[in-house]
Amino acid sequence: MGMKGFFPRWLLYLFLFVLYVFHNDLWLWDDPTLVMGLPIGLMYHILFCVAASLLMLLLVNFAFPPPTLGEGRSLPSDAEEGEPS
């Protein structure tokens, strides 16, 4: 996967931390402005959910699976008889 190196694992983990920090939107604490009918403090956290989803999309594309069961240990194989679901 040539694209894997595009977002190194450490960078995505850093994004996770940065996003976590941005959860604390102190700058909108007392701002009642409406954006598309919603208070900006609520709209911010709705967009935060979208950002969390996009970051997960990057994680599952560029840093998946996470290092599992110790260095070098391979993952268990698929179930022998999976069912469609």
């Binding site: 604490w29 956290h45 699976p65």
Partner: protein
């Protein structure tokens, strides 16, 4: 009309559960973890549906009614980041360990990880103790909802009995596969109905801008965080969703994944599902203040029901009741099954049969415990008062406080059984202390500072784990090698 819709809905759930039984393979592993064969869609729906209780949805709208938009940041968006992150780092690892070593419960994993039967038993007691209030809330919530929705025509005990009977039937019949199928259906139901209720009611009130402008004029404090929430509360509240790392019912659902890639879409879509459920819940809670401005305390938890009664046609009220039932049962079923699995595997199989139990015996005992757990829960629900709901809130704190255990077990070779036991003990002591301090105070924080007790307990239990582990002897080398192999090994799945 409402009662008819609910009854039709319950029959549909039973039909889905019984259809899933046709795929039953007759093994313990199939009954308890669906032969680890679940795909991404079912995994997402069952993880989300299990974690999203009706109590959370109705309680959140009641909280938004009192404190405004800040509830979304506290309870929803924090979970949108923390929960998938826990799934990514913890869930995938536990799935891999479960598949490799055949674990069916958390206790089996922790017992072997630290080579300690004593710790396994202590953890079992704590997990069961924290799960019981949840089960009670589910059964009592079902009774209460039906009672309210039918305007008192159906007594609470009948509603609770109905929930128990339906859950017992499809969980006994279908095991975890039946539970996952029913969860998927029920999760879709409450997500769709929440969206429809939001669209119809906000439309009737003149649109979002009109509603929020009116709220801004009459109750401007609801459109900002203001004094309702303190910044330290927003920060420390992010510890609460760590509870998913130690929920027995989520552990069980992780184990059902067919392969590690099965986790991909659930990780990506989990925050979107949270958004889809919580936007209606919070906005309708706030909008309800316009029509019902003087509800006090827990009375606000029925604000969505009241708003729908006022603004939506009766049929929608019936569908909403079905949606609330869906949310209740999609959590209750997994919790009951996980408890049945724990009693079967961690007590009967481990102590009674010395881990040598036939497939048939495992299934039989699993079913017996599902029935027993529901029966006991139902009887308790008739005895306990509604004050048990307060205990439910504290259960979250308890599970989240156990998070350092799973982190140490998975990532720290040097952690020891003594460290784990001391950490568990610190959680029990501090949880009891804070519970006694704050159980009678709504929105209790440490010393009124805004700091959530969970943040203190997590920090202390992590510190205790580190210090005691460093002072005590490592587990045997073979145990460490089993869980942290030093060289690559072949896949053995």
């Amino acid at each position: 009309m409402t009662l008819t819709i609910i009854l039709v809905y319950l029959v549909l759930v039973l039909v889905i559960g019984s259809i899933s039984h046709r795929l039953f393979r007759g093994t313990g592993e199939d009954y308890f973890v669906a032969s680890r064969s679940i795909g991404p869609f079912l995994l997402l729906m069952s993880l989300f549906g299990t974690n999203m209780t009706a109590f959370a949805i109705l309680g959140a709208s009641g909280e938004a009614y009192h404190t405004g938009i800040g509830v979304f940041g506290l309870m929803a968006s924090a979970s949108a980041l923390v929960i998938p992150t826990v799934f990514y780092f913890i869930g995938t690892r536990l799935w891999a360990l479960g598949k490799r070593h055949g674990f069916l419960t958390q206790v089996q994993y922790f017992r072997q990880r630290w080579d300690s039967d004593g710790f396994g038993l202590a953890l079992f007691v704590v997990l069961i103790g924290l799960l019981i209030p949840y089960l009670l809330i589910g059964v009592m919530g079902g009774g209460l909802t039906l009672h309210q929705m039918t305007k008192g025509a159906v007594p609470e005990w009948v509603g609770g009995l109905l929930v128990c009977a339906v859950v017992m039937t499809y969980v006994c019949f279908g095991g975890l596969r039946g539970t996952a199928w029913a969860n998927a259906f029920q999760t879709l139901v409450f997500m769709i109905l929440g969206g429809v209720a939001f669209y119809v009611i906000i439309g009737k009130l003149g649109g979002l801008t009109a509603v929020m402008t009116a709220v801004g004029e009459r109750h401007p404090d609801l459109l900002v965080r203001g004094e309702h929430i303190k910044p330290i509360q927003l920060l420390s509240y992010t510890c609460i969703p760590l509870s998913v790392g130690m929920f027995p019912h989520l552990f069980m659902h992780w184990l059902t994944a067919r392969r590690v890639e099965t986790f991909r879409w659930p990780l990506v879509l989990y925050p979107i599902c949270i958004m889809a459920v919580w936007i209606p819940s919070i906005t309708l809670g706030i909008a309800g203040r316009l029509d019902f401005p003087s509800l006090i305390g827990p009375a606000a938890n029925s604000i969505i029901v009241k708003v729908i009664d006022l603004h939506a046609p009766e049929m929608l009220a019936g569908f909403l009741a079905a949606g609330v039932f869906a949310a209740i049962m999609s959590s209750l079923d997994s919790q009951v099954l996980s408890m049945g699995t724990m009693f079967t595997q961690d007590i009967v199989r481990h102590y009674g049969f010395r881990d040598d139990m036939s497939e048939r015996q495992q299934i039989m005992w699993g079913r017996v415990f599902v029935v027993a757990v529901l029966l006991v829960t139902y009887i308790l629900s008739l005895v306990f008062t509604r004050s048990i709901f307060k205990l439910g809130i504290w259960s979250f704190t308890g599970f989240a406080s156990l998070f350092p255990l799973v982190v140490a077990a998975l990532f720290w070779k040097r952690s020891t059984k003594h460290g784990a036991m001391a950490s568990l003990l610190s959680v029990v002591v501090l949880w009891l202390y804070f519970f006694m301090q704050g159980s009678e105070t709504a929105g209790y924080t440490v010393g009124g500072t805004g700091l959530m007790p969970v943040a203190v307990i997590v920090a202390v239990s992590a510190l205790v784990m580190i210090v005691v582990s460093l002072l005590t002897k490592l587990p045997p080398a073979a145990v460490i090698e089993r869980f942290f192999p030093s060289s690559p090994v072949q896949s053995d799945g």
